[in-house]
């Protein structure tokens, strides 16, 4: 009788550590008993039973693929701050719900959906209160959109400090969202003629609020209760969040409890003292809602190591808050020459695309960059081009600069500025 599977697995894990291309150091060889011509142990006895886990989890060998804090960011108080999506370990375009980045301002509330209500009032013809069941009765739509914190990549404008693409670009995720169009709800309550803005308010302890122009609300704004086919995760606003495609993530208010329609913006703390862009002349750009076109190579990226010369596929993500992606260029010489990358279908408005370029590494130094062009003709800028207009902060949202990864002759990948 062979030993129980779990015990074998633990020993295997202890020997090899997590698999995958993520490790910066060479993995130890696989257990010889599992490799040809030997028959692996897991073929010699039945595995775990059906319903081993009622809600599935990733393989134990993938336990390195997790959200993380950014070590360069100071946590002010418990419940405040971001966690980052491990983009270096993900493929395709959809971010698994459990790996979607977080940014909370006063913790994650534990909301009973039967008790949760959305109030819509202010400059409307009939103020209303909706339960989650009510909202799910309205015609629903499912759409894929990216979500990006406007503070994404904000550690990088002065010096290349991030140790991975998770730290540099991990306040970015891309999911399928299901819910009711906000326009449907606003039609039901009826807008008064001077309705130009809404205030969206969360049911967290921060009672997070942002003002949103009515045009966006009537365009593509959604009230979502589902993410990647299942109920929103608590960290993502369960049971209801606002989703404003392509706009700074902070505005997609989680745990949405109230929409107040008004004629003017409310000038909340989050849209005055935060989420404004201080310029070198001392004035601040306000209501910079759109997350402009951005791309980043996720493989190879900082922390990866190329173990041998030969073929590699350079791969990354591109997106634009202004619409669809038109083209992505990739450079392997620090931006001197660029080649057109292949973009995988589907190309959806305000959603991530996966791009790729075949590459043969001959063992020399290379600086890898990607540059996206969206359907408006906007070309992703360099860091120098952004700094020439906006200065270097110290506060900096909306950093959509071209990212550089340096490949050293030893195959190490590091984060650099050019």
């Amino acid at each position: 009788m062979s030993e129980p599977f779990a015990s074998t697995r633990r020993k295997f894990l202890a020997r090899t550590g997590a698999l995958g291309i993520t490790a910066g150091t060479a993995s130890p060889p696989l257990a010889q008993t599992a490799q040809p011509p030997n028959v692996p142990e897991w073929m010699r006895a039945p595995g775990e039973p059906v319903l081993w886990r009622k809600y599935g989890l990733p393989s134990e060998f993938e336990q390195n693929v997790v959200r993380r804090f950014n070590p360069t960011r100071r946590m002010k108080v418990p419940g405040e701050g971001p966690s980052y999506t491990p983009l270096q370990d993900l493929h395709g375009t959809i971010t698994p719900s459990g790996l979607v980045f977080e940014r909370h301002h006063s913790g994650i509330p534990n909301i009973d959906p039967a008790q949760h209500r959305l109030m819509v009032h202010g400059l409307v013809k009939q103020p209303m209160v909706f339960s989650i069941e009510d909202l799910a009765r309205f015609p629903s739509v499912s759409r894929i959109y990216f979500l990006e914190c406007s503070g994404n990549t904000n550690t990088e404008y002065r010096a290349p400090v991030a140790k991975s693409v998770q730290e540099s670009h991990g306040l970015f995720s891309n999911c399928e969202w299901t819910g009711v169009m906000l326009s449907t709800i606003l039609e039901q309550v009826g807008l008064q003629p001077d309705a130009h803005w809404i205030l969206a308010e969360g049911a967290d302890a921060a009672a997070m609020t942002r003002s949103v122009p009515i045009a966006k609300c009537l365009d593509d704004a959604m009230l979502v209760y589902t993410q990647n086919g299942e109920a929103l995760r608590p960290e993502q606003g369960y049971p209801l969040r606002l989703l404003l495609p392509g706009w700074e993530g902070n505005m997609s208010i989680k745990w949405l409890r109230r929409i107040k329609v008004a004629s003017e913006p409310f000038m909340t703390r989050e849209e005055t003292s935060k989420y404004t862009d201080l310029m070198p002349d001392g004035r601040s750009r306000q209501f910079s809602f759109v997350m402009e076109a951005k791309s980043v190579i996720t493989f190879p990226s900082a922390g990866h190591k190329l173990k041998e010369r030969g073929f590699y596929e350079i791969s990354g993500l591109a997106w634009s808050g202004s619409g669809r992606i038109s083209r992505v260029h990739v450079s392997i010489d620090g931006g001197r020459n660029w080649r057109e990358a292949q973009i995988q279908e589907p190309i959806l408005s305000r959603a991530a695309v996966r791009f790729s370029l075949p590459w043969r590494w001959e063992g020399g130094e290379a600086i890898l960059q990607s540059r996206v062009i969206d359907e408006t003709g906007y070309v992703q800028p360099t860091r120098q081009q952004i700094i020439s207009v906006r200065g270097t902060g110290p506060w900096f949202y909306h950093n959509n600069a071209i990212q550089s990864w340096k490949v050293s002759p030893s195959g190490e990948i590091t984060n650099v500025h050019t």
């Binding site: 002010k76 108080v77 301002h105 006063s106 109030m119 819509v120 009032h121 009939q126 103020p127 209303m128 209160v129 339960s131 009510d134 009765r137 309205f138 449907t184 039901q188 205030l199 308010e201 302890a205 921060a206 009672a207 409890r257 109230r258 107040k260 003017e264 409310f266 000038m267 909340t268 703390r269 005055t272 003292s273 404004t276 201080l278 001392g282 004035r283 601040s284 750009r285 306000q286 209501f287 402009e292 083209r327 260029h329 001197r336 020459n337 660029w338 080649r339 540059r371 906007y378 070309v379 992703q380 800028p381 360099t382 081009q385 952004i386 207009v389 906006r390 902060g393 110290p394 506060w395």
Partner: protein
């Protein structure tokens, strides 16, 4: 067959249109009492400010007790945000505080009430919230030690950085899609 399909489609479309014309009829009307309990936002013109008032002295008492542990004895910050100082710093080495950066005094009331104290938000009374707001404005040298804040006086407070914001309404960066021998 084709004609029948068209007729069937027509009936279905008519039924859908009739359904829409009646509205969805989902949800319930919000009562004044329900709205009053949740309607906590304060607009920059002061709309939404409740009755009551508070002065700097009471604000100091509340601040020392409920705010100083995170924001410092005099609002200097750490672990949480600094609330005081930074006047005139925005062009050089920016320190963004209520005094140096916030454009509206009403936002202080709104934010303190809805989000603070961090461990017990929406717990301050209107008088207490006015008082804390008065004290924070006083620490920043914006109102005097004898200031009293209420629904009339608070919207009139002139914040130093009131004119410090603009809306761009477009992009401010430019690149071109050079592909060969680029600089």
């Amino acid at each position: 067959m084709f004609i029948r399909d068209c007729v069937m489609f027509s009936i279905a479309a008519t039924a859908a249109a009739a359904t829409m014309a009646q509205g969805y009829g989902i949800g319930k009307k919000a009562t004044d009492k329900e709205i009053a309990g949740w309607n906590i936002d304060i607009a920059p013109d002061g709309k939404g400010l409740p009755a009551g008032s508070g002065n700097v002295a009471l604000g100091k008492e509340i601040y020392d007790q409920k705010c100083a542990a995170c924001h410092g004895a005099k609002g200097e910050g750490t672990p949480a945000d600094e609330l005081v100082g930074g006047a005139g710093s925005l062009k050089t080495k920016p320190v963004r505080t209520i005094g140096s950066f916030w454009p509206y005094a009403t936002t202080v009331y709104d934010y303190v009430y809805r989000s603070m104290p961090y461990t017990n938000p929406q717990s301050l009374t209107a008088n207490e919230t006015y008082a804390v707001t008065a004290y924070l404005l006083h620490l920043n040298g914006i109102v005097g030690a004898d200031a009293v804040m209420d629904a009339s006086s608070l919207p009139k407070v002139q914040m130093p950085n009131r004119a410090g914001f603009f809306v761009l309404g477009g992009t401010d960066t430019a690149n071109r899609a050079c592909t060969a021998e680029c600089k």
